[in-house]
């Protein structure tokens, strides 16, 4: 059974002015679609074509891993954003962030700092640790916490294609825009 590109959980123009419809058109309609298409071509006729994305991610490396992980990461990323998002985290995640970082502002500063220092492309995550605490982790290229037994709560795409149409080289401006969109309800759901 072939993998399918999941629809965005909102209209592609719904995140403007922070992320434009044009940017989402490329990001979802071209990049994410290409990962799904390439993945389907790679798994066709192999032992992987009846496996879940998560299983493929946990048992492969190289090209197949890249495509499966990118397909999974993008779907997770779309759900981390919402036209009704932004503001400060509430619930379990809000509490865990304050416990770990003192304040939401301090957390944001730490998250932005790691994201700005991250060379090349990849993703920046908030993950749940085994002891119940939370931690910021940056991953290179397609790498994903679910390949390492970690529980992702939140992700932001740090590939240049995620922000080049709207923000050019200015990753910092993109991050500021993303904070206006974070779907903290979804992030909280991922805790349990």
């Amino acid at each position: 059974m072939a993998f399918e590109l999941p629809a965005l959980p909102y209209d592609k123009g719904a995140l403007a002015p922070y992320l434009s419809a044009e940017a989402l058109d490329y990001h979802h309609g071209k990049h994410h679609q290409a990962h799904v298409d390439t993945l389907n071509a790679l798994v066709e006729g192999t032992e992987y074509d009846r496996q879940s994305l998560e299983d493929i991610i946990q048992s492969t490396s190289g090209k197949l891993f890249h495509q499966a992980a990118q397909a999974w990461n993008h779907t997770f990323f779309w759900h981390c954003l919402s036209p009704q998002g932004g503001g400060e985290p509430h619930g379990d995640v809000g509490q865990a962030i304050v416990t770990e970082y003192g304040t939401f502002a301090a957390f944001k500063e730490a998250f932005n700092g790691i994201a700005l220092d991250h060379l090349g492309v990849g993703w920046i995550w908030l993950v749940k640790r085994g002891d119940g605490g939370v931690e910021i982790v940056a991953s290179h290229d397609a790498d994903t916490p679910i390949a390492h037994g970690q529980t992702p709560l939140l992700v932001v795409d740090l590939w240049e294609h995620a922000y080049y149409i709207d923000y050019r080289h200015a990753r910092g401006k993109y991050l500021e825009a993303i904070w206006q969109l974070i779907n903290w309800d979804f992030v909280n759901q991922n805790v349990s």
């Binding site: 492309v121 290229d141 240049e160 080289h169």
Partner: protein
């Protein structure tokens, strides 16, 4: 004197329509400038502030361990981009010439095979990096690619042609279509400069 951003050897719009002016301007004045700034910041107080960047990349063990990754990233970024600008010309494109053309014929199966191999190297670099035509210490041509801003110089090879395949190099004009960007690059390759570098590397 600390490292500085070199001027482009042509105007921002000189490579149109193959490489667009907006991309060239942001790529040179923002991305390359940032590598220069970060390299100078990393070298401050090390005594290596004035060492030529290619010398640093060739002997990374001379860089203090806590600055090494910053030099790989930002020194590589500075060196790679400086070379990249010189690799392109409004009068570029066409076929290689001189000794490098002969070497491509003898060692890489001719221009078409070389172009295929180079495209493969450029497309096969998942994420961000560079595709290269390099000369090995044995003076042989090799097509290779590298991750992020890693330079062939750090592995003992001498690059004679380089193509930036970071998304910032092509996104404004080509978006997700890296193959189209690679084709466009072949229309502006400065083969005179490739020949000059090849002769220097094999002398």
């Amino acid at each position: 004197m600390p490292h500085t951003l070199p001027d482009l050897p042509y105007a921002y719009d000189a490579l149109e329509p193959h490489i667009d002016a907006m991309t060239m301007e942001i790529h040179h004045s923002r991305h390359h400038q940032t590598y220069v700034n970060n390299l100078n910041a990393a070298l401050e107080g090390t005594g290596l502030e004035e060492t030529p960047v290619d010398e640093l990349l060739a002997s990374l063990d001379k860089v203090p361990a806590d600055k090494r990754q910053a030099v790989i990233n930002n020194g590589g970024g500075h060196s790679n981009h400086t070379m990249f600008w010189e690799m392109m010309s409004p009068q570029g494109g066409g076929q290689p010439k001189g000794q490098v053309a002969a070497a491509i014929d003898e060692q890489l199966g001719g221009f078409d095979d070389f172009k295929d191999a180079f495209k493969k190297a450029a497309l096969g670099r998942f994420g961000s990096g560079w595709a290269w035509l390099s000369v090995t210490p044995e003076k042989k041509l090799v097509v290779e690619n590298s991750l992020n801003q890693d330079s062939p110089i750090s592995n003992g090879n001498t690059p004679v042609l380089g193509l930036d395949v970071w998304e910032h190099a092509y996104y404004l004009k080509f978006q997700n279509k890296r193959p189209d960007y690679i084709e466009a690059f072949f229309n502006v390759i400065n083969w005179d400069e490739v020949e000059r570098r090849y002769q220097a590397a094999t002398a």
